[in-house]
C-alpha cells in the first residue's frame, strides 16, 4: 500500500472525535478502581469501628488530606504522561509538598513525646506490619483500572508511566485504607503509608514497558 493510499484510507469516514477523552477515561478508571478497592476493604477489612468518633478529631482529616494530595498530584502526572509530547514540568516536585508537610508534623509529634517508648508507639502504632501490604492490596483494582485508562491513550515513557499508574493506585488504595486504618500518629502515616504506595509504584515501573506498549 502506498503512503498516499494509506492517507486516503485513514481519512475516509474518519468522523469526529469526542473531546476530553483523557479526563473521561481517567474518571471512569478511578470510579471503578475506587469502587473495587472499597469493596475489597469492606469485605476483607471492614471500616474502623470508631469511624464516627474519629471524624470529629482532626487527625483523620490530616490523613485524608495527605493521601488525597498525593492522589491528585500523581493523577495529574498520569494524565500528562498519557499524552505524547507533554512535559511533567513541576508536577513530580509537587509530590514533595504533602510529604514534607506530614514529616514536619511527624517531627513535631516526635519531639513532643515524653520518651522513647512513646515515640515508638507514634512510629509503629499497632498495625505497622500489615499497613503497607494492605494498602498495596487495595491498590490492585485501581492499578488495573488506571493501566486500562493509559492503554487507551498514548504513553511514550512506559516505565515512568507504569510507575505513575502504580503511584495513583497506591494513593487511592491508601485513601480507601484510611477508612479502615485505626492509626492516627503523623510519624506512622508519614512512613508506612508512602511505603505501601511504593509497592504498586515499583510493580508499575517493572511491568510498565510490557503492559503499556502500543
Amino acid at each position: 500500500m502506498r503512503t498516499d493510499d494509506l492517507v486516503t484510507m485513514l481519512a475516509t469516514g474518519a468522523g469526529a472525535v469526542q473531546p476530553n477523552q483523557v479526563p473521561r477515561r481517567y474518571a471512569i478508571a478511578l470510579g471503578w478502581g475506587a469502587l473495587g478497592a472499597a469493596l475489597l476493604m469492606a469485605t476483607l477489612l471492614g471500616l474502623r469501628p470508631d469511624l464516627g468518633a474519629a471524624v470529629l478529631r482532626p487527625m483523620i482529616w490530616v490523613k485524608f488530606a495527605f493521601v488525597a494530595c498525593l492522589a491528585a498530584v500523581s493523577l495529574l502526572a498520569a494524565t500528562r504522561l498519557s499524552r505524547p509530547g507533554l512535559r511533567l514540568a513541576w508536577v513530580p516536585s509537587a509530590l514533595g509538598a504533602p510529604l514534607l508537610a506530614i514529616w514536619l508534623l511527624a517531627a513535631f509529634e516526635l519531639t513532643r513525646a515524653d520518651d522513647a517508648a512513646q515515640r515508638a508507639v507514634l512510629f509503629f502504632g499497632d498495625t505497622a506490619d500489615s499497613c503497607p501490604l494492605l494498602i498495596a492490596l487495595l491498590a490492585a483494582p485501581v492499578f488495573v483500572a488506571v493501566v486500562w485508562a493509559m492503554k487507551g491513550l498514548a504513553p511514550t515513557r512506559l516505565r515512568l508511566a507504569g510507575a505513575t499508574a502504580g503511584l495513583v493506585a497506591g494513593a487511592v488504595g491508601a485513601l480507601v485504607y484510611s477508612l479502615h486504618c485505626p492509626e492516627s500518629g503523623a510519624p506512622f502515616i508519614g512512613f508506612w503509608y508512602p511505603l505501601g504506595m511504593l509497592i504498586p509504584t515499583a510493580i508499575g515501573a517493572v511491568l510498565g514497558p510490557r503492559l503499556l506498549r502500543w
Binding site: M1, A11, A14, L153
Partner: protein, 187 residues
C-alpha cells in the same frame, strides 16, 4: 531566529487542519495527514539515515499511530511536540525490535539489504499494509474494506455485512488498532 516565523505558520496551519479534522471535517483531515506524511518523512529520514529503506515503513507506521491516538491531542498543546513524541516513540520501538531480530537472525541479511535500495526515492514501503489488512478477522476487515477503502457509509457497510452500525464503527476502530499491533509484532 529567522526560521521560527515560517515554522510557526506551518504549525498553525497543520494545527488548524487537525482541529477541523477532529471535529469531523474529512477533507481537512485528509489534508492534515497529507502534510503530516511529508513532515514525518523528513523527520524520519534524518534519523534513519543509515536505514533509508525503512523510512517509508516508519512513515506509515507513524501515520497509523497518529490516527489511532488522535484523541490524545489536546487543542491547546503544541502540535509539533505531540507529533514528534509519537514518531520518536515508534522509531525507538522499531529500532529495538530490529536489534532484537538482528540478534536472533544472521547478520548476513543485513549485508545484502543495506546498500541495495539506498538510492531509491523511498516512496514505496517495504511492508505491504494491504497484506497485513487481509489477516484481520472479518468483523474488523470488512468494515475497513467497505468504509475506508471503498468509501461506503456506515449504514451501507452495515447492510452489506449484516453487522449493526455500532459493530461497524467498533470494527473499524479496533481493526486499525489491530493493524498497528500486527505491524509491531510481525515486522
Amino acid at each position: 531566529m529567522q526560521g521560527t516565523g515560517r515554522l510557526d505558520a506551518r504549525e498553525e496551519s497543520l494545527r488548524n487542519l487537525l482541529n477541523r479534522g477532529l471535529s469531523g471535517d474529512a477533507s481537512a483531515y485528509h489534508a492534515f495527514l497529507q502534510e503530516l506524511s511529508a513532515h514525518l518523512r523528513a523527520f524520519l529520514r534524518k534519523r534513519l539515515a543509515r536505514l533509508p529503506d525503512e523510512v517509508e515503513d516508519l512513515v506509515q507506521e507513524s501515520l497509523l499511530a497518529i490516527h489511532n491516538q488522535r484523541h490524545t491531542y489536546d487543542a491547546g498543546q503544541p502540535l509539533t511536540a505531540w507529533i514528534h513524541a509519537i514518531a520518536k516513540y515508534k522509531l525507538v520501538d522499531h529500532l529495538r525490535r530490529r536489534a532484537k531480530r538482528d540478534l536472533l537472525t544472521d547478520a548476513l541479511d543485513d549485508e545484502f539489504g543495506f546498500a541495495s535500495a539506498a538510492d531509491s526515492e523511498a516512496a514505496e514501503a517495504r511492508r505491504d499494509l494491504g497484506k497485513l489488512l487481509a489477516k484481520l478477522p472479518d468483523r474488523q476487515r470488512l468494515p475497513i474494506v467497505h468504509m475506508k477503502l471503498e468509501g461506503l457509509s456506515v449504514a451501507e457497510t452495515a447492510r452489506r455485512t449484516g453487522m449493526s452500525e455500532s459493530a461497524v464503527k467498533v470494527g473499524v476502530h479496533r481493526g486499525l488498532k489491530a493493524l498497528a499491533e500486527l505491524i509491531r509484532t510481525e515486522a
